[in-house]
């Protein structure tokens, strides 16, 4: 490490740095704090004074209220997990496989196919024909595959993987070829293990996309049993009646359901897993961005 003399420029830079970073970090973290506070504040306080910054009247009524009938949120968790796991597995596999073929220098028409994929990042038919294709011709309405299929192939991810695979010497594939392995086996047994870093980060990004997806649910799903987590929350925030109905179904008669605090409690339940996993996976995302940035 170089030794830093504490000259005025370094000191002033550090002061500015500390102030700017502190302010922005505070702004980034504050909303999460507010959600927690909102979820554990009593409903009567919120209706009288609104959400508060500091916890005032502590209460767990919102969580108790959700526990009355948690089937909706649990099912949304189930659907989201299923979609995320299948989508990530098949998506990354398909992208990686295509990326491998596209960087094989002995595959003569790889330029044609590369352009075939790349062109879709430049031009698209737009939302309307895509939507009509999905609904009218592929029958996406209220089907679970409507949540998985659209996000399966990502040309950007394919290009990032391709860039990484380009760094693996061709001799690796060639020598396996001489040993009699076919291309698919080479890919599975030799290339994939070598590409572990890029596969891991692409998987994480893909999984995050699926987990946070609400758009496909909004477009294709009317049956609330197939709602994904984010969309479930969106519906709930949009209509306070949703909460009331949940209570009626559970056969609980509550004079005034804690609607406002429950909205925050539900949000907390939805972001919980991400906040919990964040410290562990963060560094892989940072690595992933770095890989993408260099090749991109």
């Amino acid at each position: 490490m170089r030794k830093r003399r504490k000259t005025t420029d370094v000191i002033s830079f550090n002061i500015i740095g500390y102030i700017m970073l502190s302010i922005f970090s505070f702004v980034c973290i504050l909303p999460f704090w507010m959600i927690i506070v909102g979820s554990i504040t009593s409903e009567s306080y919120i209706t009288a004074h609104g959400y508060s910054i500091m916890p005032v009247e502590f209460s767990t009524e919102s969580f108790k209220y959700i526990m009355n009938d948690a089937t909706g949120i649990l099912r949304a968790y189930g659907v989201t997990t299923l979609v995320t796991v299948t989508g990530t597995f098949f998506g990354v596999f398909i992208n990686a496989m295509a990326a491998y073929v596209l960087q094989r220098k002995d595959f003569r028409f790889r330029n044609f196919f590369s352009f075939y994929f790349f062109f879709t990042t430049l031009f698209s038919g737009g939302l309307v024909p895509w939507y009509i294709l999905c609904v009218k011709y592929l029958h996406f309405k209220d089907r679970i595959y409507a949540l998985i299929l659209p996000g399966l192939v990502s040309v950007w991810n394919m290009l990032i993987i391709k860039g990484f695979l380009g760094g693996i010497p061709d001799a690796v594939s060639e020598s396996a070829h001489i040993d009699g392995a076919n291309d698919f086996r080479i890919f599975i047994q030799i290339i994939l293990p070598l590409a572990k870093p890029v596969i891991a980060t692409i998987s994480l990004f893909t999984a995050l996309n699926y987990w946070n997806d609400w758009y496909n649910s909004m477009l294709f799903i009317n049956n609330e049993k197939l709602f994904m987590l984010q969309f479930y929350l969106y519906k709930l925030i949009g209509s306070a009646q949703g909460l009331q109905i949940a209570a009626d179904k559970a056969g609980v008669v509550i004079e005034r359901p804690p609607i406002q605090s429950t909205k925050m409690a539900m949000t907390l339940i939805v972001i919980g897993p991400i906040i919990f996993l964040y410290p562990f996976v963060q560094k892989y995302f940072v690595k992933g961005i770095t890989i993408g940035a260099i090749k991109g």
Partner: protein, 304 residues
């Protein structure tokens, strides 16, 4: 052609491996491109895309004459310009600060915190806006009340949205961009920096004359990417935060929300398709122009 087929036959395993992605893109990208002829038709659901009657440029005429085209295009453009400027300024500043500041633990924590919003969906961001700015229950009006000021109806105020949308775009994206710029700085040889220090350049001079020039390639690539998407808005940001509120369409309606709404609520699907095709063509033309300009100035930075 014959050699093409012979070659593919020999490489049939590779070809098979390419097929899933090939078919997916064919269905979900190329078929909709063909389907964009819908923009020139009057769509009837029972007739489908191909049998619906042609109407020429009527859909476009309607879209442009109504004045919607101009106003959503201007909104999309101006918002994206604001996002690009504000976000890049913050990202570059934070990257420089993080790379040159002392305080290892402080930097580690702040960087993690700044990156956190990236992991949160726009739905959650919508809840956050609700928590702060809801007229009845929001924190903001609570503070106004304690200060003895009248409450503000943020949700119905166009000017507030102009600020909030830029703010939340930065809130969610700056952490990500900072990491990209930071990795660009890390990739730079630090020797020049040390040499300049020995020669008596102070920290600000070193940043200005050494670090910033070294970041130019990354800036150019990111700028190129964002400029080529300048006609494409962040649908989630606008839809989840603002929702569908006709009172503030003037300030918050972008091409993407307009197309979505036309598709979902109005029966005029042809016009929605026309607006979408207009957007795609604008994007495509912008990319080609930007790429050409960049190529002329410095071909290394060109996308293709």
């Amino acid at each position: 052609m014959a050699s093409f087929i012979r070659h593919l036959k020999r490489k049939k395993v590779l070809l098979l491996m390419l097929m899933p992605a090939f078919i997916h893109v064919l269905i979900f990208s190329y078929l909709p491109m063909a389907g964009s002829i819908l923009a020139f038709k009057q769509f009837r659901y029972n007739l489908g895309i191909f049998k619906s009657p042609w109407v020429g440029f009527d859909n476009f005429r309607f879209f442009f004459i109504s004045g919607d085209a101009l106003h959503v295009t201007v909104n999309t453009l101006l918002y994206n310009l604001a996002f690009i400027t504000v976000n890049n300024f913050l990202e570059i500043s934070f990257a420089i600060i993080l790379s040159e500041m002392s305080g290892r633990i402080f930097k580690k924590i702040t960087q993690s915190v700044m990156f956190l919003p990236y992991f949160i969906s726009w739905v959650i961001a919508g809840v956050i806006v609700y928590n702060f700015f809801n007229y009845e229950f929001g924190v903001f009006n609570g503070i106004m009340k304690t200060l003895g000021l009248p409450p503000v109806d943020v949700y119905n105020s166009a000017n507030w949205w102009r600020v909030l949308l830029v703010f939340f775009s930065a809130w969610k994206n700056v952490g990500y961009g900072t990491i990209i710029y930071l990795s660009a700085i890390m990739g730079v040889d630090h020797e020049m920096f040390d040499a300049a220090e020995i020669d008596g350049a102070n920290l600000y001079q070193r940043i200005r004359h050494i670090m910033l020039p070294c970041m130019v390639p990354t800036m150019m690539i990111l700028l190129l990417l964002s400029v080529s998407n300048i006609f494409r808005g962040d649908f989630g940001l606008f839809y989840q935060l603002v929702g569908t509120n006709p009172l503030v369409y003037d300030a918050t309606d972008i091409i993407d929300t307009y197309v979505f709404r036309s598709l979902m609520t109005s029966s005029d699907i042809g016009m929605a398709a026309a607006a979408g095709l207009y957007q795609s063509v604008m994007c495509f033309v912008t990319i080609l122009i930007v790429n050409k300009i960049v190529k002329r100035i410095q071909s290394d930075y060109a996308l293709f």
